[in-house]
Amino acid sequence: MSTETRSDLAPRFGEFGGRYIPEVLVAAHEELEEAYDAARNDPAFTEELAQLQRHYAGRPTPLYLAERLTEEVGGARIWLKREDLAHTGAHKINNALGQALLAKRIGKPRIIAETGAGQHGVATATVCAKLNLECVVYMGTEDIRRQSLNVFRMKMLGADVVPVDSGSRTLKDAINEAMRDWVTNVRTTHYLIGSAIGPHPFPTMVRDFQAVIGREAREQMLEQAGRLPDVAVACVGGGSNAIGLFHPFIEDPVRLVGVEAAGEGLSAPGRNAATLVAGSPGVLHGTRTYLLQDEAGQILDTHSISAGLDYPGVGPEHSWLKTSERAEYIAADDAEALEGFQRLTRSEGIIPALEPSHAILPAIRLAEELGEGGDVLIGLSGRGDKDMHTVAEALGVTL
């Protein structure tokens, strides 16, 4: 239809993406698409965002050579892109800043967001405090239990945290509830989606805001390592940190490996969150992408030790990178994530969040395979302070 596209932004990644939304939200998506297309080409907007990234979020984040871990493994050098050192402790701030500035630009004073691990909720609440925007965060009650520290942080930042008790009580259901808020309050409200998922233009817009990770890492690799990495590895839930890391390397001879959450195992439907590895294409939350679903098209429950990966869908660009074979997707289970978590903590004095902990052991294996002279880049998307209770529980320790 002629109203569909008024911008230069492509609505699809191959057969994936698109805009599968209730009619009530169509106008808001068209408005957002046009506003984003104008903003990304407006030096005033990009400069304001760059300033905030630098002076508020603490960018560029360091690229760090994990020397002890590299020595222990005895293979390729292992590099960490330190998004854990960004303000609020994860990459989520990159996207929250970009979208909140855009919401101000289109005159929406109220922000809603979903959160799983709480990192996106915290980043959104933080940015709303700074930009004086009303903030409501939807969070599954199961995640509220797992991430009570982040819930309190959001409240301290002035956000209203709304518990979601439907379905699996995790990220998927928080998104459903945020969508219900949005269909009701669309005229005053921007839905600040936290991953590279959802209807067009969200997957593109979130990827663009997160691509700062890969742009910096690429430049830093050339400067510090003197070459591009042989492989870039990142965890994939919705996939925003992974697409942000991967995208600037797409034209380079760099292997891209996404690591999903295998939870309690790939052979246990409903007990993992490995969407690209174990799923099939469908439509959820406004986009056509890989999903964990049954034969009748019902969405399966998911499980991962990390709340941030506990999602039955994935960003549509990852689906396209998978089917076009530009990227590879594998899965690490809860036990492997815990082992990766402890390995990095002990070897480097860096406590990773449980989400990027999934990427550690696969990266170590890749470093072994590559051997000396190779370089492995890990997207270390967040810090692990929020996960101390979960890790203690998993290790049988009572705090």
């Binding site: 969508m179 009701t184 999903l291």
Partner: protein, 267 residues
């Protein structure tokens, strides 16, 4: 395009009243209740029935219809089961047009072409797919047209007027007008809904049926004065929930009789 849908709107409107469109969720409260409920709705005076196809993630629905979805999904009701219920209801004499309403993913999983063909064969007359706007519905609309079932598009209060003509152009039986920004069973139908219907009217000659926020006799009557169809969903689910499962058909039938002030022919 469904002759049965168009004929029924024409018949009701010819009697000087709006068609009454009643929603139930397949498999709610229990799968074996659905066929009796469909027959009960017709007996109570429903002109058109929307049969909800259960989905795990009904993101445009409020608490009442969400609950119905959860119960039906938990009972394992699939799109194929919904078609079985339609077939059974037709074999027991259900005569009113019936439209399947739900979300895109169960249809995709079943196969879009096959869904349209099997729906037609089962005796369904159309589809309302909440998260499949006309822009994304090319394949499915083609499948519907090829099988003689109707694709019913939705228009919302936020739909730009220049888009209304394009949305209306894909309709072939009636247009579903969402009365209010919100989820099903949320805010009441607003007084200015007549203006919205009048705006849509400039772009179509087809019947316009208004839903969302319509539950009381007064609201049904008020909407019926400005539109060719009145859609009630959450209130019917609430009537099903309002007592024993054994009594659900009687409660739904008397609810429909009360708000329409009539009962179905031959009931």
């Amino acid at each position: 395009m469904s002759e049965r849908l168009r004929a029924r709107f024409a018949e009701a409107n010819g009697e000087g009243r709006a068609a009454f469109v009643a929603y139930v969720m397949a498999g709610f409260p229990e799968p074996e209740r659905t066929v009796p409920l469909l027959l009960g709705l017709e007996a109570g005076g429903a002109d058109v029935i929307e049969l909800g196809v259960p989905f795990t993630d009904p993101l445009a629905d409020g608490a009442t219809i969400q609950r119905a979805n959860e119960v039906a999904v938990a009972a394992g009701v699939t799109f194929a089961d919904c078609l079985g219920m339609v077939r059974e209801a037709r074999s027991q004499g259900l005569a009113v047009p019936l439209v399947l309403m739900g979300y895109d993913n169960p249809l995709l999983a079943y196969g879009e072409e096959r869904a349209a063909a099997d729906a037609a064969a089962a005796g369904a007359d159309g589809f309302i797919v909440v998260d499949l706007p006309p822009d994304e519905a090319g394949t499915f609309r083609g499948a519907c047209a090829a099988n003689g079932v109707s694709f019913v598009p939705l228009v919302a209060p936020t739909t730009a007027e220049e888009r209304m003509g394009e949305v209306a152009a894909v309709a072939d039986s009636f247009i579903y007008c969402v009365s209010v920004t919100g989820t099903t069973g949320g805010a009441e139908v607003p007084p200015e809904v007549g203006d919205l219907v009048a705006t849509i009217r400039r772009h179509t000659d087809l019947p316009i049926a208004v839903g969302f926020g319509v539950s009381t006799e007064e609201q049904v009557a008020r909407v019926g004065r400005v539109a060719e169809g009145v859609i009630v969903g959450s209130a019917i689910i609430a009537a099903i929930e309002g007592g024993s499962a054994d009594g659900c058909v009687d409660r739904v039938r008397s609810y429909v009789e009360r708000v329409t002030g009539r009962s179905g022919a031959g009931a």
